[in-house]
Structures are given as C-alpha cells and as structure tokens.
C-alpha cells in the first residue's frame, strides 16, 4: 500500500467522481420524489403494466416486480438496470485508467521508475478503486434516504445499509473484472470496450433468460440474475449465493489482475 498512489488516484478521478455523484443524486432524488405519486395511484400502474408485454418488462428488468413497493419501484426505474450501467461505467473507466490506461499514457513508466513494487501499485490502485466505488454507493443510498425524509417516503435505513454493502460488492465485481482486463492490456479504451461489452452481453443473456424458458439457463451466468435490490429494500435480505458470487468474482479478478500486472511488460 502506498498512500501517495492512493491519494493521487483519487485526486486524478475527483472530477469524474463529482459528476457521477451529481448524476446519481439528481436521478435518485427524482425517482424518490416521484414514488408517493405512484403509491397513491397504483390502480393506474396496474393498467400501465398490462400495456407492456412480458418481453418489454424483461428488457427493463421489471419482470415479476411490484411497482407498488419502494423496492420494486426503485428497481424498475433506477437500481435494476440504469444504476448498474451508470456505476459500472464509472468503475470501469476508473479501472481502465488505473493500469492499462496508465501504461498507454506513459504515467505508469514514471511511477514504476520510482522505488515502488508492481504489487504495491496494483494493490493500492485496487484499493483506490474500492474507495471510489464505495463513495458512489454511499452517494446512491444517501440520495435515496435523504430525499425520502423530505418527501415522506418511508425508506428503511437498514435496507439502505444492506443495499450499500451489496451494491459495493457488486460494483467491485464489475470493477474487478475491468481491473483484470486493464492489467492485461496496454490501453484504457480496450478495457472499457471489453468490460462494457461483457456487461451488455450479460444483460442481453439475462433478458433472453427471462423471456424464454429455453434460454433460462443463460441467466445463471449473469450478474443481473443475482442483483435483487427490490428484495434488499423491501425484505431487508440478500441471498448468501449473491454475496458469494459477487464477492468471489471481486476477489478472483483482483488476484488475476495482480498476477497479470506483475508478469507483463510495461510498454
């Protein structure tokens, strides 16, 4: 661990952190402020739901969800899909710049010419990624909980704490994957393309699994299948399987990243 690298990584990304936080706060506030209106007009929502086909509901991550609960509503409108892609874009961009992007722009050469080991660099930048990801998750739950107080929405604090924790592990699984790709590549753009491509492929696989029994097995291989913010908020629970899958992915990709970065040429 190098404090100098940790601090510098967060300083270099502070503007993007502010913009992503601003976007999340604005969107979160808007959705929470909108919820009382939905809650008071559930009969119209039921009509509204019948307008959409099952396929459309699956595409928006709304299959089988109840709009009338806070968790269901937030999942359909925000946390189920849009939030995942916003936060994924943030952590993937961070991870891409941390290793492969730094090799590409030459700043890795500057860093590695100093008395610091590759393991230290990779470990510290991963910790900075974790802090960045944690900050985004904190902003997410804070900008659901606080507007809830203002707009009379009963947002469970323990549900937010649980959402923060599992959201953080999910974003580290996504960020960890991008970090491993970044450790293997010599460019940030390639890392972003590969990581977002894999995430988009997972989403497509999940949609396919939700609309066709024939492809139901595909869902098993996607992060979206295990990401259930509605259950976290409404039932205050996260399946052990979800913790395990996200957690193991985050750890395995981190180990792969360190191993690959120690072995590669920095050029």
């Amino acid at each position: 661990m190098s404090w100098s690298i940790f601090r510098s990584m967060l300083q270099l990304r502070r503007t993007s952190l502010l913009w992503y936080s601003f976007g999340l706060a604005l969107y979160g506030w808007f959705i929470v402020a909108f919820f009382p209106l939905i809650e008071d007009n559930l009969q119209y929502m039921e009509i509204f739901e019948t307008v959409f086909t099952d396929e459309m509901m699956a595409i928006f991550g709304a299959a089988g969800l109840n709009f009338g609960t806070l968790g269901g509503f937030l999942t359909v409108e925000y946390l189920g899909l849009i939030w995942v892609f916003i936060v994924a874009a943030a952590v993937i961009t961070f991870a891409a710049g941390a290793l492969g992007g730094a090799v590409e722009d030459g700043t890795m050469e500057l860093t590695l010419a100093q008395p610091v080991s590759r393991t230290q660099v990779a470990l510290t930048r991963y910790l900075a990624l974790a802090a960045y990801s944690g900050a985004l998750n904190l902003v997410t739950v804070a900008t659901i909980y606080l507007p809830g107080l203002l707009h009379g929405v009963d947002v469970p604090l323990d549900g937010m704490a649980l959402l923060f924790a599992i959201g953080w592990v999910l974003t580290m699984a996504i960020g960890g994957f991008a970090y491993a790709v970044s450790a293997l590549s010599s460019g940030g753009g390639r890392t972003i393309a590969v990581s977002l491509g894999v995430l988009a492929a997972m989403w497509l696989a999940d949609v396919l699994g939700n609309i066709s029994e024939r492809f139901e097995w595909l869902s098993e291989f996607t992060l979206f299948n295990y990401w259930k913010p509605d259950i976290v908020i409404d039932d205050l629970t996260v399946a052990g399987e979800t913790w395990a899958i996200f957690g193991i992915a985050a750890v395995i990709f981190f180990v792969v990243a360190i191993w690959a970065f120690r072995r590669r040429d920095v050029v």
Binding site: S8, L110, A113, P115, V116, R262, D265
Partner: protein
C-alpha cells in the same frame, strides 16, 4: 561499494518475433559516465527498460549494483534517477503536484529539488499540459535529479532544451559525477557525449558493435592528414603510401589522406619527402559513430 553499477550479461529481449536487443553484454563501473549510442530503433530504450524492470528479458541477465534485476526491484530503483526518452507526465496536474507525488513515492521531498528548479529556471506551479516540450523535459530532469541518486539513467536528457539549458544539465551531471554518481547516458548529441563520457557502447540492430573508452575509440578511428609538400610529388609516391584508406591530390604539392590504422607508419611514409606544412585532424565521436552506421540505416526496429 559495488564492483559494477550496471552489468548486462547476454541480455536479450524480443517483442514477439521482432528483435529488441540481442546478447547485450557490457558493464558500467562506479563513477563512470557511460555513453550508450545508437540511432532510433537500435535498442537503447529497450535496454534501459529491462534494467528498470519495465520489460522482462527474453533471456540473459541484468544487474544493478551487483544485484540481479527482478520484476520488483524497488530498493534498486531507490538508488536510480531516470529520465525517459519520451517524457510522459500527468498532463492535467501541475509540476508541483508531480514533484510531490514522486516525493511521496520516495519517502520525502528531494533535497536538491529547489536547487535544480532554480538552475534550470523551472516553475513547477504551472499545469503540465501548459508546459512546452523543453519545460516538460526540465520537470523530468528535476524528478530524476532531486533525490541525488547514485545512478542516473538518462535517455536523451537534453531533448527539447535550448543550448544554455543543455549546458546547465551537463554541468550538473559533471558535479554529480565528481560527488561519486554514475551516469548512463543515451544521447544523440555526440559532441556532448564525447565531452562528458569516458566510455561508450555503440549499439546497432540490438547488438553492441563497439564498447571501449572514448579515447581508445577515437584513437582507432579515421584521421584526416592534410599535407603540403615543399615541392611537387609524383603520383607514384602518393599511390605508394601505406595505411591510407583514401587519398586525394590537392594540386601538385598537396594531398589529403584518411588513415584508419596505426598512423605512425603512414606518417613516416608521408614524411619521406620534404614537407612545408602538415595537419592531422582527429575524428570526432560523430564520425566514429557514422563509421558504424550508414546514413540509410538510422530508422526502424525497436526503440
């Protein structure tokens, strides 16, 4: 004290199938200023990057301060200051931020930072992206020099600097060497190399083609002899001169000969007739360098 500061033993690096360096063997002793010469693509930067653990050699070994260079040679790099051939910095940050970042990695501010900034007239308060190429180069030099390392690995250290600042850099290097530092210098500015280096390696197509002291290299190199005889000399005399690589008549009384072997015997032959004037020009390092390289062979390959 280490017997050698840098040692390469059959160091080889291939990028896939393309050659970077091949069987590179040389050593640099403490306190030496060692010139590492070669055109673009000869393998100079590859060698430096292998020494700094940025690249993993395909085969062979590299040593710094008698310790084999591994992938995590952080303690070795504490003793090294490095200026890359193509300076890349954190563009959106200031010079001050960059110096503090490096100070953080090195465990504290560089004791010579203020002095080097002042001598190079470098203002660290500006953003890197606003700096000219020369000022970026100055920042790279401050980074390399501010912690007063034992070994300076400098890849084109004066690139982009005006002649006055080039002079300042070489003055600083000479002072550092007088204090016991070792300098490994890759440069295209051959008169400067000739001035400051005591030993050089010339690298071509990834291999060392000459490695000796600058004096020895120059003494073996081509010299040009201009002679004006006291009276006209016949062609048969000129054609019979031994040890000359080429000879050109300058009127009836004069000639210009290039000599690439031992000059003594050749001079005895030239002086066999009464001479009015004679001058011997030593080859510069640049001319020696060009002996190893044709003008058309100066690009391509690894950097």
């Amino acid at each position: 004290m280490s017997a050698t500061v840098i040692r390469c033993d059959k160091l080889t690096k291939y990028y896939g199938k393309s050659r970077g360096i091949e069987d590179l063997t040389f050593e640099v002793r403490p306190g030496q200023v060692y010139g590492f010469l070669g055109p673009n693509g000869a393998g100079k930067t590859t060698t430096i990057r292998c020494l700094l653990s940025m690249l993993r050699p395909t085969s062979g070994r590299a040593f710094l301060f008698d310790e084999e260079v591994g992938v995590d040679g952080r303690e070795l790099r504490r003793r090294i200051g490095y200026v890359p051939g193509d300076v890349k910095l954190f563009e959106k940050q200031t010079g001050r931020w960059t110096l503090d970042y490096i100070a953080g990695l090195r465990g504290g501010p560089g004791p010579a930072e203020a002095e080097i900034c002042e001598r190079l007239e470098f203002d660290p308060s500006r953003r890197v992206k606003e700096l000219s190429k020369g000022n970026k180069q100055k920042l790279a030099l401050v980074i390399a020099l501010m912690h007063e390392p034992e070994l300076l690995m400098l890849d084109e250290p004066t690139s982009g600097l005006d002649p006055l600042n080039q002079q300042v850099v070489f003055d600083i290097l000479e002072e550092r060497v007088a204090e016991g530092a070792t300098v490994f210098l890759s440069s295209h500015i051959l008169p400067e190399v000739e001035r400051v280096c005591e030993r050089v390696a010339i690298i071509r197509d990834g291999r060392v083609v000459a490695e000796e002291s600058v004096d020895d290299l120059l003494s073996k190199a081509i010299r040009t002899v201009h002679v004006t005889y006291a009276e006209p000399v016949p062609d048969i005399f000129v054609d019979g001169l031994r040890g000359v690589s080429s000879v050109e008549r300058l009127g009836d009384n004069g000639l210009r000969a290039t000599v690439s072997e031992e000059i003594g015997d050749t001079l005895l032959g030239i002086l066999a007739r009464p001479v009015a004037d004679i001058t011997v020009e030593h080859a510069s390092l640049e001319e020696v360098f060009l002996q190893y390289y044709g003008h058309g062979e100066r690009e391509g390959g690894a950097s």
